[in-house]
Subunit: 364 residues, 2 copies
């Protein structure tokens, strides 16, 4: 490594973990107009890394960056990203905390030297609320599995916190996703929110963010993780496989239905989750790790006046909200394990094994 190179984990193409290669001689990126360079303190792992690597975001899905142009059958490199243009080699890693150590032209000098948490949503800043044309850090541009990364200064949020870099790197994707789900579903005091995948990053963030809204969090997770998930703050914890969900809810909270389902799992439990919704209830989804294709009864949708809400691209102001929640200690980090960047394969294997509760991070 020299002043112009760095250590980085390089994704060379779609495929298995063997497409990820560690390099010590990767060019250190330079900040352009409006950008900052961050010395990465820690970077958290997410499902989106694995999905992007494997090409799970198929073209047919027409993700947020999809346009007729990028969906052109000739645009081979588009396949498998957010329906958009994934170019290789790529440095993945969406959840970055670090220190601004260089600024591009047009950036306020006050940002230099600050400890920042990076909003992973890459926006068209001429129309930041637009949901189309967005990218994601580590997908449409290089992310944090490296010693340095470069990003628009509007993505770099100063953060004042006693937490370690590894702890702060647990937050960006999971908290932004969870907060967006709760905003979409208008969760407020009086709501009861059934949370799937509650031991995961988004799930455990949901529990905490439901609590800070004064609503009741009911967590679903495996038997082995129930006590750890309960300690995150769930009002009640239900074990998978679900069995008679109405009865389990009645036993746990005295009511057999909920007003909101916050789902990141999907799959074969989907019909039972929908059936748990009271009339007028809201189902909000930001993932489907157990399988995206589900059977849906339109009678249930319409006769019960339900709402099904997809939650992917949050409005830009959510990230500042999340930073405030962190600074106030309203969400606590759930750091399951820390790995060195050089041990990334081991880190991702642990992440995929899902034996942990909370988040796994790497440090350069």
């Amino acid at each position: 490594m020299s002043a112009t190179t760095m250590r980085a984990m390089i994704l060379t193409g779609h495929g298995g973990p063997d497409r990820l290669e560690i390099r010590d001689d990767w060019p250190k990126p330079e900040p352009s107009l409006g950008e900052v360079r961050v010395r990465v303190g820690a970077c958290g792992l997410n499902n989106t890394d694995v999905n992007t690597r494997s090409g799970w975001y198929s073209k047919s899905v027409k993700g947020p960056t999809a346009s007729d142009a990028t969906r052109d059958p000739d645009a081979k490199k588009a396949d498998g990203a957010w329906g958009g243009a994934l170019a290789f080699p790529r440095i993945q890693g969406a959840d970055v905390v670090g220190t601004v150590e260089a600024i591009g032209e047009g950036v306020d000098a006050a940002l230099h030297g600050q400890r920042v948490l990076i909003d992973p949503w890459l926006r068209d800043w001429s129309d930041p609320h637009r949901r189309t044309g967005c990218g994601y850090l580590g997908s449409e541009r290089d992310g944090g599995y490296a010693e340095f990364m470069v990003v628009d200064h509007r993505n770099a949020h100063p953060v004042r916190s006693d937490l370690t870099d590894a702890e702060l790197a647990t937050f960006p994707t999971v908290c932004t996703t969870a907060e967006n789900m709760l905003e979409r579903a208008r969760v407020a005091q009086g709501d009861t929110v059934l949370i799937t995948g509650a031991s995961g990053g988004v799930g455990s963030a949901l529990i905490q963010l439901v609590n800070r809204r004064g609503a009741k969090a009911i967590a679903i997770c495996s038997q082995a993780k129930m006590s750890r998930v309960a300690s995150v703050g769930a009002r009640a914890t239900l074990a998978r496989p679900l069995g008679d969900l109405a009865r389990a809810l009645r036993d746990a909270i005295g009511e057999s239905s909920v007003s909101v389902v916050a789902d990141v799992v999907g799959g074969s439990d989907f019909p039972a989750l929908v059936d748990a919704l009271a009339p007028g209830g809201r189902y909000v989804c930001s993932g489907a790790i157990a399988g995206p294709i589900v059977e849906f009864d339109l009678r249930t949708l319409y006769l019960r006046d339900l709402e099904f809400l997809g939650a992917t691209v949050p409005p830009p102001e959510h990230f500042a909200d999340v930073v405030r929640h962190i600074e106030k200690g309203e969400v606590r980090p759930l750091l399951a394990a820390t790995f060195a960047l050089g041990d990334f394969h081991e880190a991702q294997a642990a992440f995929i094994a899902k034996d942990h509760v909370g988040n796994i991070v790497v440090v350069p």
Copy 2:
């Protein structure tokens, strides 16, 4: 018939059309406290008559009136209605226009003699915005397939209009349903709304109500009905079977996606309809006549930030809105045919054959 009896079409139980029997000696109902008796001028036909008769609203759906009590397996009579208690014999008929000819205790005498359109939603007036515990005229209480009917005075809306009774009887269910769908989906100027079943009652009401909101209506119907549907006011009309919907939309309106789908059909076209939604788009549903069980890709829901909205029980103020639209001529009646009540079987056979555009009504 005498002063105490009337002609009525009696539904004797769940089953085929043979469960409907005309009677000339049925007891004329008396208005109770807060109720009015209406001399029926005309009554419109709806899918809900057929669905209720056949038991399509299965218990598993947990419709708006469902409660743990009514879903008790011992409550046999509950099966097949809105998940609630359907008692036989029953007089069906939800879309009633007529004249108030008797009033119960506690009803303003000014209502006597007025021409009224009946809101078919039966509410708990102590909590009229509650979506649970509602019934529907002709299901949870006797409706308009008779010479007389009785209803809460708050369901009887005076209407000032030059339209005939048969014309006015085309409106209640279809306009309330369509207006509720558009409200749920927040349809406004700038929206493009793809409408299925556009030749039917709700579909043709949707076209007119989309137009009065300043949005664009794109209608889907059979080839044979395209010109009639276009004359209702659709900006573009697409023929079933759908084929390449994106191309058809591009040819028709220059864009390959829409912001809203308003669906009463469901079935095998569902995936194509969903695929036509732009990111952030809304799908709203109030029926599924082509089949309620559909395949759903949760990736499409969440990666495109879509919303799926069920629309069954509208807030009570919608009916007054609809009456105003009618009085202003903002929606026009589409009276396909008028039958005598004694010819009800013929009327319902024509209704089910779906060769018509608009609505079919019976007159006592």
